[in-house]
């Protein structure tokens, strides 16, 4: 058990180191941040001055050693765009917004998927099943960009019920969480439905039915639990993905999360913030998956024996 956890931990550290290496070299090969920061009226003298100021005139290996040394204790240097401000702080300042959106998204989409998926599996080929499948198909295929704008037009512009964008008050989260959750709900509904169908055909379900257990109990007590393992894996990946921010949804709703920060720092070649952002996202993703892996050992004793 302990060796299992330790080996998973070691793997996680290696993954994060690999991510750091990759992100440093990729971002440093993609272009000049100075030009983008300066207005078009700036001249070559202005450009050189800024480049020296930011240490971008040094050789790349020297920059990398400094980068790795700093990254070890969470120091990614100062943001190039938010000058004078630590890069990692830019990420941590925006993380609560990402967490709130992720939480609200899971809060409605997960129960909805569980309910829809289960009902669809139990009442297979019924009208309800078809409805679930169609809504899942829609949720997965509607671009969140379009869905978000339509929701804004309907609920903010036409009905005036909810704010069009922004962050702060609780009601601000409703439209973005719905937009973002539509995809997760749709995908998980399909997964849960097919998982349930598979489980419901197992021998032990037939045994339970043969014993005379009521159908409701068969589903709730026997089937759902056995379907949980693959679903928990998917949920782990979902959480990891949600914690990495949702670029499109955040942009459409002007939501101050870390997904938008990542895109902004790519467009502005803000290397330190991008590096800190990717590091943070990798950490969250790896951390959640580590938790899920350890969680298996509780859910499924067979994993421990492996």
């Amino acid at each position: 058990m302990l060796t299992y956890i330790l080996s998973r931990l070691l793997q996680s550290v290696l993954v994060i180191l690999g991510v750091l290496l990759l992100v440093f070299f990729i971002v440093n090969l993609t272009g000049d941040p100075v030009r983008i920061m300066l207005p078009p009226e700036a001249n070559q003298e202005d450009v050189e001055r800024l480049r020296v100021q930011m240490g971008l005139d040094r050789p790349l290996p020297e920059q990398f050693v400094r980068f790795l040394g700093g990254a070890m204790h969470g120091d990614f240097g100062e943001s190039l765009r938010y000058r004078g401000q630590p890069a990692l702080r830019q990420v941590t300042q925006r993380f609560p917004a990402t967490l709130q959106l992720a939480g609200a998204t899971l809060f409605w989409s997960l129960p909805a998927a569980l309910l829809l998926g289960t009902i669809a599996a139990v009442r297979r080929n019924s009208a309800l099943d078809n409805l679930a499948i169609v809504s899942a198909l829609l949720g997965q295929s509607l671009p969140s960009f379009w869905l978000g704008l339509m929701l804004i037009l309907t609920f903010a512009v036409q009905l005036g019920l909810l704010p069009s964008s922004g962050y702060g008050e609780p009601r601000h989260v409703i439209l973005p969480a719905f937009t973002l959750g539509a995809f997760f709900m749709a995908r998980n509904t399909r997964l849960i439905r097919s998982g349930m169908i598979e489980v419901l055909e197992q021998d032990y379900i037939r045994t339970a039915r043969a014993k005379g257990v009521r159908e409701r109990l068969v589903v709730v007590r026997h089937a759902i639990k056995n379907m949980a393992i693959p679903v928990v894996t998917i949920i782990g990946l979902d959480i990891g993905q949600l914690l990495g921010g949702a670029v499109v949804t955040e942009t459409v709703f002007a939501w101050p999360g870390i997904g938008r920060l990542a895109i902004d720092s790519i467009l502005n070649r803000d290397f330190p913030v991008l590096e800190a952002d990717v590091f943070f996202i990798a950490l969250a993703f790896v951390g959640i998956n580590l938790l899920i892996d350890v969680g298996y050992t509780w859910l499924d004793p067979r994993v421990r024996v492996r």
Partner: protein, 524 residues
């Protein structure tokens, strides 16, 4: 562990997971109930960019300037019609000689933190901006200023290195903003970047990145307390969301409305459009080193064959104004002598033939997107129009960073998109910076030189008599229209969407001064 207790803990684990997910979402649904708007005088601004940092001397772009101008002030400022200078932190000024201008300062002014405004503050601020360590993005525009002399606590002399006919417009420039010396020499870099303290009509209240910035009226403002008590600044990156936010009443004013959305806004019944010729001029640079644009005749042919009037009418819905070269009519040094070049396809074809390209000629047209409204569509239409007279541009899209670094290395050939904003509203900043043979744009980007032009540019730069200076600028423009180093373009139109509950008219200089706003039902 028994099977039963194992089952229990598995169930617990699942329960715990569900509770955690719920708890994370819960705060978002409690404490609701802020429905309905209160009647306080508040204006909400919806800009297209989020604010990045608020140290005025390191100001990044127009959005920052637009916001910070309400909290900070310069010594002097342009009047609304841009025809004269209004006193701001200086009350009067006079030239002592060609290099020295004396300013009497406004007495009894305090910064928002209580620091007194005086001559030392002026000296500190201008010297801080001039210090390369501060990192002012457009420092080269100000390096003609040598130093500030404190004469007494309410008088300063500003001394330039060479005679500067444009010292007054220069001192309206955003980087010459006056900051409180004590705060700016003791506060941390992060505080300076996030908590502005100035003398302006609005005081900083709060700001979180990618979220709202809040300002309140400065009741002790020397010009009287402004009418709007509270201003909230939002950055909404997605244009359609921004328009929706205006229509839904979530924001009151949005700049940079796309022409396609003007109808929706003006027909909503609750909002209106205000549009005014803008300060930014769009043009297309030609590589004067390589074929075919090394030939002046081909460069002239491009100008006669572009049909920009038609493009402005159809693509921009009329939201653009043709210009003769790179000057707007209200710039100091402009005379209404040099007019936009006419559309003349026959002349364009004849010029091409004369240049030795009777069957037309091919070249690369480098486009960039997202710098000004509908730039992509304009470029595509332009390529089509030019092809009709035999100028066949092969369109190649570059992102701005790449285009700029390639141009700076002298690697762009053919024709490419550029634009220029002139905050000094003075011809020199547009002409000298773009066309003198020592300037980066003429020398490195285009390889364009003209010794006669250099002489005139140098003469106008130090000519102190406005009439003589304007005559020089006109002569410069005539040479430029003959040489055609650019395909001369158009001045963009600034289009604002405004909620009808706000009374406000936009300005030509792109400033959005919240102190010029009132509520429609409020006494001005």
């Amino acid at each position: 562990m028994t099977a039963r207790s194992m089952r229990f803990s598995r169930r617990q684990a699942l329960k715990a997971a569900a509770v955690t997910a719920g708890a994370a979402a819960l705060p978002s649904f409690t404490g609701c109930g802020m429905f309905g708007k209160s009647e306080e005088s508040k204006v909400v601004m919806g800009y297209g960019l989020s604010l990045v940092q608020l140290d005025p001397h390191r100001n990044e772009n127009m959005v920052h300037e637009s916001v910070l101008r309400n909290m900070y002030e310069c010594l002097i400022t342009f009047s609304r019609d841009l025809k004269k200078f209004d006193p701001q932190l200086a009350t009067e000024w006079k030239r002592l000689d060609d290099k020295t201008t004396q300013f009497k300062l406004r007495p009894n002014v305090k910064f928002h933190n209580g620091e007194p405004f005086d001559a030392e503050a002026v000296k500190f601020s201008i010297h801080r901006m001039l210090d390369p360590k501060t990192g002012a993005p457009l420092l080269s525009t100000y390096t003609i200023i040598d130093h500030v002399d404190v004469i007494d606590s309410m008088t300063v002399n500003i001394v330039t290195k060479t005679p500067d006919p444009a010292i007054l417009p220069r001192l309206t420039g955003f980087h010459t903003i006056i900051v409180p010396p004590k705060y700016f020499s003791t506060a941390s870099k992060e505080d300076l970047a996030t908590k502005p303290i100035g003398t302006g009509p609005y005081k900083f209240v709060s700001w979180a990145k990618d979220q709202d910035l809040v300002m309140e009226a400065n009741k002790d403002y020397w010009g009287g307390a402004p009418k709007i008590q509270k201003v909230v600044v939002k950055g909404i990156p997605e244009t359609q969301t921004r328009v929706s936010a205006l229509l839904a009443g979530d924001v009151d004013i949005i700049p940079a409305v796309p022409p396609d959305d003007m109808d929706r806004i003006s027909k909503s019944g609750k909002t209106r459009i205000a549009s005014i010729p803008g300060n930014r001029i769009v043009f297309f640079a030609l590589d004067c080193r390589s074929k075919p644009f090394d030939n002046k005749l081909v460069r002239q042919a491009v100008n006669y064959g572009a049909n920009l009037d038609q493009i402005i009418k159809t693509v921009l819905g009329g939201n653009g104004t043709r210009v003769g070269t790179v000057l707007n009519p209200w710039y100091a040094g402009y005379e209404a002598v040099v007019q936009p070049m006419p559309y003349d396809p026959e002349k364009a074809k004849a010029l091409l033939k004369q240049a030795g390209y009777p069957n037309g000629v091919e070249f690369t047209f480098y486009g960039t997107q997202g710098r000004v409204s509908k730039d992509k569509e304009v470029i595509e239409a332009l390529v089509g129009e030019l092809a009709k007279v035999g100028l066949k541009g092969n369109l190649k899209w570059l992102d701005w960073g790449t285009a700029f670094s390639q141009a700076s290395a002298g690697k762009l050939d053919g024709i490419w998109f550029r634009s220029w904003g002139n905050f000094m509203h003075d011809a020199d900043l547009s002409l000298f910076t773009n066309f003198h043979s020592t300037s980066m744009y003429a020398k490195v980007w285009q390889g364009y030189t003209n010794p006669k032009l250099d002489q005139l540019l140098e003469a106008s730069r130090v000519e102190m008599d406005p009439a003589k200076r304007a005559a020089l600028c006109t002569e410069i423009q005539k040479i430029l229209q003959d040489d055609c180093p650019y395909l001369w373009g158009y001045a963009i139109q600034d289009i604002y969407g405004i909620n009808n509950r706000i009374k406000w008219e936009p300005r030509t200089d792109e400033k959005i001064l919240y102190s010029e706003m009132t509520l429609a039902d409020q006494k001005a």
